[in-house]
Amino acid sequence: MAFALSVTIPGLPRTAILCFVKENWGSIASVWGLFVSIYVLFVAKGARKAAREAITAERGRTVVEELEQAMEKNSHIGLFARDRKWDLVHLRAQEVMTSCRTIVARWGEDDVLKESKNKLLMVATQMRSIVEEANKEGANSESIVNAQLNASERLSAVLGKAHKERESGS
């Protein structure tokens, strides 16, 4: 400490510095402690921010992956409906519906995502209607395909937005 003082105040005699340190070691230690605390706080804040960003990025990546899977499964619905494979239509529609509701629930009350949540809820509603229609005897494949296309448009819009947000890092 005396060395540090002699470096910062070159004209001061060494004995005066030692005397000052001896008399004020408590205060000097407190100031030093304060600097260390500020430094630790600064590092911890940075680490917390980095951790938060990593969590957000991970969530974004998961949502994008889930939406991509939902898109793929939704396209299967169209194919299975054309072949009148109602069990598979039912299964895929349920999977897409669950994915959409899970994403909406994970997003919580965030108002910024309201439009995307509305779109996913509409996809979930379309999927439910597809399940209902596929369970009927003589299910209407045309109305199922139309609902699937409606859902596809909405899923694409949400996926596009999710990709954009992930790329911008928000």
Partner: protein, 105 residues
Amino acid sequence: MTNVSDVEFVGKVLEATQRGRIDWQKTAVEAQYASTFGGKWTVLIDRGTDHRGNETFWLSLQNAEGETVLRIEQDSRLSGLFELARRYALKVNEAMADFLKELES
């Protein structure tokens, strides 16, 4: 918490539909139209037939989990609401305007 009656609820949905503020969409189920709001609500209007073969209409509200929290059947305005929702979802007004434009040209 505000107390909203079923009558009021139907009135508000009808008014918003008349103003074109509800984006009704056709679903895979015949004669069913739906719209979503606030990132958590889904409103549906359905038409069906009762055991005597009479037309019936019902308006339902679902939460984000897909649970039906409200179902209204006994309201004479529901048939009008259904027709407005159908016209909006199928873009009937645009179709008629385009048809008339073609007719006049």
